[in-house]
């Protein structure tokens, strides 16, 4: 059931390039957080802002654009623009209510203690950005590009903050090779839009998992604002595939999560060093055990193809944990195992219908033991973050503390609740992930004890020949300094939202 024809083709001219590319050639980037001061001036700029489309970045023969601009809006931003309430209410609940300002959301995301929204530098209260402008440029071009855009914005916007990023992309501040695990998106819509059970892990995700208006992994369409057709006619909004009499304001758009994560690089390595008793090799092994990869990015479960440090990202991403159910090679709680457990819909077993029925009914003890983690394909994140601050290496344990460093975490997805919030809650912050206890994510964990007093600052490294090795007293390595939910609209939708209502 391959989709064909005009209405089903993916309109790459309407999709912002960030969905297609992380702009890896554009080493320079900065993110402007703006608040609307003058609604009319803001609209005027948004209507014509030079947004880079997917078509512009993927043209195989053509030259790369020297500079790139991407635009996303928060729900407060939509309100400030004067977008009608019924349209705003059509967006996802999480987007409408925002990342900060709800105690339950803060509990689920681990935004508590030092990461509590009340303490953020931006993103809560009066400091919620309306518009997020992502600027990318080829080396040497960013400053001029930023000045140009800031000049254009000066009439309509106040700048809340400009988030600077570091120029090197491959290593995150703790020193690990980053950005390896990414879902492959089915841009050609080869996967049929239907609901079935997937018995093997696949890195290929349905387009609708990341781009609104297309079928997702359930074969359904994620909720988004659908408008009466005449309302969207003027901006030539595309029609909804699942409701052809409606204009689809979400189509070709996505939700964007931005979080500024300060990383205590020195604290991280100092802790590893003391846990390792000062032995540099052991220090690195501990750090790798917590991440699930070596500094070079080789996964600890080391499928043969992925055992070479010089391997491509694709090879380093080609493995599952099926051969390591007890976590003897890669601990169950390792960061990359929590973030992407790489399991299928049913725990492994033989292919027969009887075996499948037995596993579905829960009558297979071994299968149940492998069934504590939700099926991965419904919880993928398309990551587009950039790090900031000087790259501090393991060797800088002594000497003066380095400049602030961290990650401007960005991920895209069509369903904030099922993707980002689920991963952050159940898999990162969750203290019972895969049957573990008294520990949360070794990097992102808050370390605050549970309300009943149970500690969460441990880490278990399973051993083949004895009880787990336990590391306790992990300090907080990552603190949230700001964050927000944004809508990264299709380009026609952006023009529609910016036009007078």
């Amino acid at each position: 059931m391959k989709h064909q024809g005009q209405t089903h083709a993916v309109d790459r001219d309407d999709i912002q390039g960030l969905l297609r590319s992380g702009y890896g050639h554009h080493l320079e980037a900065c993110f402007l957080l703006l608040r609307i001061r003058d609604r009319e001036a803001a609209r005027a700029w948004l209507v014509g802002a030079p947004v880079t489309s997917a078509a512009m970045v993927e043209r195989p023969a053509g030259p790369l654009p020297e500079t790139v601009l991407q635009l996303a809006l928060s729900s407060e931003g939509l309100r400030a623009l004067g977008v009608a309430d019924d349209i705003i209410e059509g967006f996802a609940e999480e987007f409408v209510s925002g990342m900060a300002g709800d105690a339950n959301r803060a509990r689920r995301l681990g935004d508590v203690g030092a990461s509590a929204p009340e303490r953020w530098q931006w993103g809560s209260g009066q400091r919620v950005p309306h518009v997020l402008v992502l600027l990318y440029a080829l080396p040497g071009r960013l400053d001029a590009w930023r000045r140009t855009i800031e000049q254009q914005c000066v009439a309509g916007f106040d700048t809340l903050a400009c988030l600077q990023t570091a120029d090197s992309l491959d290593r995150e501040p703790f020193g690990f090779r980053d950005g390896i695990s990414q879902p492959k998106i089915d841009w050609e819509r080869q996967r049929p839009a239907l609901d079935d059970t997937r018995l093997a892990y696949s890195n290929l995700s349905c387009l609708g998992e990341f781009v609104l208006g297309y079928p997702n992994e359930y074969g359904g369409y994620t909720d988004r604002p659908l408008l009466d057709a005449q309302r969207g006619a003027q901006a030539a909004l595309p029609r909804a595939e699942d409701a052809p009499d409606k204009a689809d304001l979400g189509r070709n758009g996505s939700y964007l999560v931005l979080r500024q994560l300060a990383q205590d690089v020195r604290g991280f390595w100092a802790f590893m060093d003391s846990a390792a008793g000062g032995d540099p090799d052991q220090r690195e092994r501990f750090a790798a055990a917590m991440v699930g990869r070596t500094l070079q990015g080789v996964p600890l479960v080391a499928a043969t193809k992925a055992s070479d440090a010089a391997a491509s990202s694709a090879d380093l991403n080609d493995f599952t944990y099926q051969s390591d159910p007890q976590g003897l090679r890669c601990p169950l709680g390792a960061h990359i195992r929590r973030a992407n457990p790489r399991n299928a819909d049913l725990p492994a077993g033989t292919r027969g219908i009887v075996s499948r029925l037995i596993r579905t009914l829960g009558f297979d003890e071994e299968a149940l033991r492998q069934d504590l983690v939700a099926s991965t394909r419904f919880h993928r994140l398309l990551r587009r973050g950039r790090k900031y601050g000087a790259a501090t290496l393991a060797e800088s344990l002594t000497g003066p503390p380095g400049a602030p460093a961290g990650l401007h975490f960005i991920c895209l997805g069509a369903n904030l609740a099922r993707q980002f919030e689920f991963v952050q809650d159940a898999w990162m912050t969750g203290t019972k992930f895969d049957g573990l206890t008294a520990e949360s994510d070794p990097q992102l964990g808050t370390r605050l004890p549970a309300p009943d007093g149970t500690p969460t600052d441990g880490y278990s490294i399973p051993q083949p020949d004895g009880p787990d090795r336990r590391i306790t007293g992990l300090p907080r390595f990552v603190t949230v300094l700001g964050g927000g939910y944004f809508f990264l609209p299709g380009i026609r939708a952006l023009r529609y939202l910016a036009a007078a209502h």
């Binding site: 689920r108 419904f378 051993q463």
Partner: protein
């Protein structure tokens, strides 16, 4: 489940009173003055909830006038042993508090016997699920203490051989014996199931299939007609899955994620007509049967995160209340529902008004992700007071701790078994 309608005009003061029982939104203070839940050693979970159904008007989709349903107060708990025994203990220990709560209900006799009144309002449970039948609160607490003790004690270094693993286990056994003697640890042997319960279970085990067998010929004859009834309804029943009100959703979320476990209470009306009423009644008998005899050891089909769950008919089987206690967050719970037991959910809940469209009773329905998620949130109601006897412990902990104890009490273990046991610590 004690259910009683509220007396007119008493809702506000009851809500205020219930709030005083909590230490955080919806989270009962175990020592609260009204009903000190923590004092009842056989009580696992408990809740007080106002059955305020926001979806009564949905029957209008069938051209029917919404019935005037009273606002009920429901009091439910999961306990070891007969519920009568726990209710009796409560009416003794917390008589004044319980009276002050139930005084808000219609026809509550301030001078009558409290226990009699509660039992008179005890509504039978149509189907009941218990994660691990026979695992008592006492056992859970003792085994948790054992796990903490052993986990802190065990040597965390590589063992050279299986012999060493067995030696390590033996020394831990000795350690536990010493701790027991010193009174720092207790491992009470499980209570025997009363003979009456075992007989009742056996009778149920045989009676239900027997009844099925007797009904089978009739069922076979009627099957084409029943299928016709089902399919015509499935293809025409209206879906009613609008987004829940934002304020209502926020109220629900305010009560969630204070603990590793959460509560879920939902209410809804059956689809009109006798077909759905009979179908659901029969299915709930079968679910109750399988929960009683099959799913008694830590899992309900693939779901391993539900401590207790129950389905209760109210209003002469026109409406159903579903209540559960589960581990993890709401999103994860819904994820399990859709991905692991969507078929089972459809089987039961598709008889509820407005459920997303099913095919052949088990397909579709809950798998229509967005409609399902809106539906279940819209039918969920806030649980005003919720109690859990063992905060911080999830079912994965309970199961592991149980295995630790079993391993401790085993007479003999091979090298490999001893190593596997040590790795649980």
């Amino acid at each position: 489940m004690v259910v009683a309608p509220l007396a007119a005009g008493r809702e506000g003061s009851l809500r205020e009173l219930l709030d005083t029982m909590n230490s955080a939104p919806g989270m009962a203070d175990p020592g609260n003055a009204i009903l000190p839940f923590g004092a009842f050693e056989r009580l696992h979970f408990a809740r007080l909830v106002l059955l305020d159904d926001p979806t009564l008007a949905d029957v209008e989709a069938y051209g029917l006038r919404p019935s005037k349903a009273p606002l009920y107060l429901a009091f439910m708990g999961d306990c070891d042993g007969p519920s009568r025994q726990t209710l009796a203990a409560m009416s003794q220990r917390a008589e004044a508090g319980l009276r002050s709560v139930f005084a808000h209900c219609e026809g509550f006799d301030a001078h009558g016997d409290l226990l009699t009144w509660m039992l008179a309002h005890d509504t039978p449970v149509a189907a009941n699920y218990v994660n691990w039948v026979g695992r008592s609160v006492l056992q859970i607490k003792q085994e948790s203490a054992l796990q903490r003790m052993l986990s802190a004690r065990v040597g965390r270094r590589p063992l050279a051989s299986g012999t060493e693993a067995r030696a390590a286990r033996r020394s831990l056994i000795t350690f536990v014996e010493e701790e027991k003697r010193a009174g720092r640890l207790a491992l009470t042997p499980p209570e025997r199931t009363p003979l009456r319960w075992r007989i009742a279970k056996l009778v149920n085990l045989i009676a239900v299939p027997l009844a099925g067998l007797i009904a089978l010929p009739l069922l076979i004859v009627l099957l084409p007609w029943l299928i016709y009834l089902l399919r015509t309804r499935e293809t025409s029943d209206p879906e009613i899955c609008p987004r829940p009100q934002r304020e209502a959703l926020q109220t629900l979320q305010d009560l969630e994620d204070h603990e590793v476990s959460n509560q879920y209470t939902a209410i809804g009306t059956l689809k009109p007509g006798r077909f759905r009423r009979w179908l659901l009644s029969v299915l709930l008998v079968l679910v109750d049967y399988s929960c009683r005899h099959v799913f008694t050891r830590g899992y309900l089909a693939r779901v391993q995160t539900i401590h207790f769950a129950r389905w209760v008919f109210i209003d002469d089987k026109r409406r159903v209340v579903f209540a559960s206690n589960y581990d993890g967050g709401h999103q994860a719970y819904m994820d399990d529902f859709i991905n692991k037991v969507g078929w089972g959910l459809n089987l039961l809940f598709s008889n509820g008004l407005g459920w997303p469209r099913t095919r052949w009773l088990i397909l579709g329905g809950a798998r229509i992700e967005q409609s399902f998620k809106r539906y279940q949130r819209r039918h969920q109601i806030p649980t005003q007071v919720w109690y859990k006897a063992y905060p911080g412990l999830a079912l994965v902990d309970l199961k592991r701790n149980q295995r630790i104890r079993e391993g401790l009490e085993r007479e003999r273990m091979s090298d490999a078994q001893a190593l596997a046991w040590l790795r649980l610590l």
